[in-house]
């Protein structure tokens, strides 16, 4: 990176962080630190909710998903609008009516202390681990850009996130997220436009999209009912619905965002903003990845996108095989480019359908040959170093940024990734710290200290969760794909947590004993199924966990009974 890139990166990140800290200076009440000032408009809520969900993973892994597999991943978000409507219509009124600081506080008031602790602990376990992956993603960027050791980069990134989060509190998180999202939108739009401008002369945007369609990269919607297929319309709507409902309705990192709204109306409109714009945003990022694939059909592409790892092994003893494969890949890529130009020419000059089909067949054959060599290169890399991660899709977009974008824009795009990382990590660590203080520390120990003590303990626990996240981030490289790892982790726990809340909202006769026991049994069943059945797509575990929790709670209620906090049987409430 040039000096201008560094300036853009540092000025953007420090400027936003400093603004957030300046706006929240001198605020020390516990309520403000944990929940915010409840003066936030729907636009800020909408951007904050979007920023919390869209981490650096979104901007590194999702273009890689588009590059590798096309647009199909967008179906993962199809359940989101339905879920946000349910949250806005059903969950939000209860939270606002009872003026809770965390979602799990509601469980305590509806059921009992142990159910509140269970909900909070499931959240802390899941989100604590996921925040490690959130830190890991930008660490890849920084280690690639600066050539640093990845572990040291994780430590440095995590430490920066901790300082930023602990000093800011929840209000600063919301304020900075708005400006971070503006930087993200500007950066991604700039990258998209520059990529289109960098296509070879004579290749239009329509040509690029036709090339993408020719490689089946634009197939966004899969109507198959096969439960073993990872992304379909149905798994997206039903599995994605439960994942989104649990995430937006019960995950404190999101609940904290929309509870800071001025009124129920502002909170609802903030959620509806996401219901409308989240899918187009994800489709846009995936399309960026698809067009990256097209771009690298016309331009020289590395045989392996993790360039640092490749160079390290090529230069080591036994690297001759890798050099040979790299050379063969470049030769085949030249042949593929010639076949691609031939196919486009046949479409442009009015050739017969048979000629166009023959040209397309030649292109597909050339692509298959080059992909076979790419696979051989990965196998050879693994043979040299069995511990190396050979899925390189997370490195596709950053490679494009560093090698293709002009000076200054590189800094802006690195700022995009960094802004996305910080906005998510800040919300996650803030929620983890708040939940630990509100639902565990204050609930169990009931300390006598006032606001000052509450704020101090919030800062201590937020920092502690930051260290846990760093520890987990150091192991995250074992996951083949970052964004999937986060979603798999969420799917294993979110379903049961959602079940707890649905029982609370919808089944007034069920009490704490039944729902607590039902949730424990359901979580154990989900984990056993996940580790023993490998044919079930992970999104379905949201539905399975939720349904099991609701079902077992209803079954157990007549057996275990349960009493509401006021001493009245739950069935009479």
């Amino acid at each position: 990176m040039s000096a201008l890139d560094y300036f853009v990166l540092v000025a953007t990140m420090l400027g936003i962080a400093a603004y957030g800290m300046w706006k929240t200076r001198g605020r020390t009440t516990f309520q403000d630190y944990v929940k915010g000032e409840s003066k936030v408009s729907w636009g800020t809520i909408g951007l904050a909710v979007m920023a919390t969900q869209a981490s650096a993973i979104t901007f590194l892994s999702t273009p890689g998903q588009g590059f590798e597999s096309g647009m199909g991943f967008v179906q993962n978000y199809f359940g989101l609008p339905f879920a946000l409507i349910v949250v806005a219509a059903l969950f939000l009124p209860f939270y606002r009516r009872l003026k809770v600081l965390t979602a799990y506080e509601y469980l305590g008031r509806r059921f009992d202390g142990k159910t509140r602790l269970l909900g909070a602990c499931l959240f802390l376990l899941q989100r604590g681990l996921a925040s490690g992956i959130t830190i890991y993603a930008p660490a890849i960027v920084l280690s690639t850009v600066f050539g640093w050791n990845l572990d040291l980069t994780i430590l440095a990134t995590g430490a920066l996130a901790i300082v930023y989060t602990v000093s800011g509190g929840n209000t600063a998180v919301s304020i900075t997220q708005k400006y971070q999202m503006i930087v993200i939108f500007a950066g991604m739009a700039t990258a998209f436009v520059i990529m289109l401008l960098r296509l070879p002369a004579g290749v239009t945007t329509v040509d690029a999209l036709q090339v993408a369609a020719g490689f089946d990269k634009l197939n966004a919607v899969n109507f198959s009912f096969d439960i073993n297929e990872r992304y379909t319309l149905w798994s997206g709507i039903f599995g994605g619905f439960f994942l989104s409902l649990s995430y937006f309705g019960t995950d404190q990192s999101q609940v904290g965002r929309y509870l800071s709204g001025t009124s129920l109306r502002e909170s609802r409109l903030g959620l509806m903003f996401n219901a409308v714009f989240k899918i187009p945003m994800q489709a846009f990022i995936l399309l960026l990845g698809v067009l990256l694939f097209v771009f690298y059909q016309f331009s020289p592409a590395p045989v392996f996108f993790d360039r640092a790892t490749w160079r390290q092994h090529v230069e080591a003893p036994g690297g001759e095989t890798l050099r040979v494969l790299e050379s063969r890949y470049q030769t085949l890529a030249e042949e593929k480019r010639a076949a691609l130009q031939g196919w486009l020419k046949s479409r442009h000059d009015g050739s017969s359908e048979e000629q166009v089909a023959a040209a397309k067949g030649a292109l597909r054959d050339a692509h298959a040959r080059s992909e076979a060599v790419r696979k051989q290169a990965k196998d050879a890399l693994r043979a040299v170093d069995p511990g190396v991660k050979t899925k390189d899709s997370d490195y596709v977009f950053i490679t494009f940024i560093l090698e293709q974008l002009p000076v200054g824009v590189v800094g802006l795009l690195i700022a995009v990734i960094f802004a996305a990382a910080l906005s998510s990590v800040a919300a996650e660590l803030s929620a983890l710290g708040s939940t630990t203080v509100v639902d565990l520390y204050r609930h169990i120990f009931r300390p006598a200290g006032g606001d000052g003590h509450g704020v101090l303990m919030s800062k201590v626990f937020t920092a502690s969760w930051g260290f846990v996240a760093i520890g987990f981030a150091l192991f995250a490289r074992l996951a083949e794909n970052l964004i999937e790892a986060v979603n798999i982790l969420g799917s294993l726990f979110y379903g049961v947590v959602l079940g707890l809340f649905l029982v609370a909202f919808l089944f007034r006769r069920v009490g704490g004993n039944a729902v607590f026991t039902g949730a424990l049994l359901s979580q154990a069943t989900v984990l056993v199924c996940f580790f023993t059945l490998d044919r079930v797509g992970y999104l379905w575990y949201n539905l399975i966990g939720c349904a099991l929790c609701v079902f077992t709670s209803l079954i157990l209620q007549p057996l275990l009974g349960g009493r509401t906090p006021g001493g009245t049987p739950a069935t009479a409430s």
């Binding site: 509806r110 966004a220 129920l264 109306r265 609802r268 509401t564 409430s573």
Partner: protein
């Protein structure tokens, strides 16, 4: 005692969205946008094939 959660909801606030009078209208519009998006995404490979 915990109040009956379904009987203690705050009164509905109008959405104040131009052209839409109720929250049901807002949710319907959101679902309409979703259906439109799915249709557009389904047509994408057909249009550029």
């Amino acid at each position: 005692m915990m109040p009956d959660p379904l009987s203690t909801l705050p009164p509905e606030e109008a959405p104040e969205v131009p052209g839409i009078r109720s929250w049901g209208g807002v949710y319907t519009a959101v679902l309409g946008a979703f259906v439109l998006m799915v249709v557009l995404l389904s047509l994408l490979p057909i249009v550029f094939s």
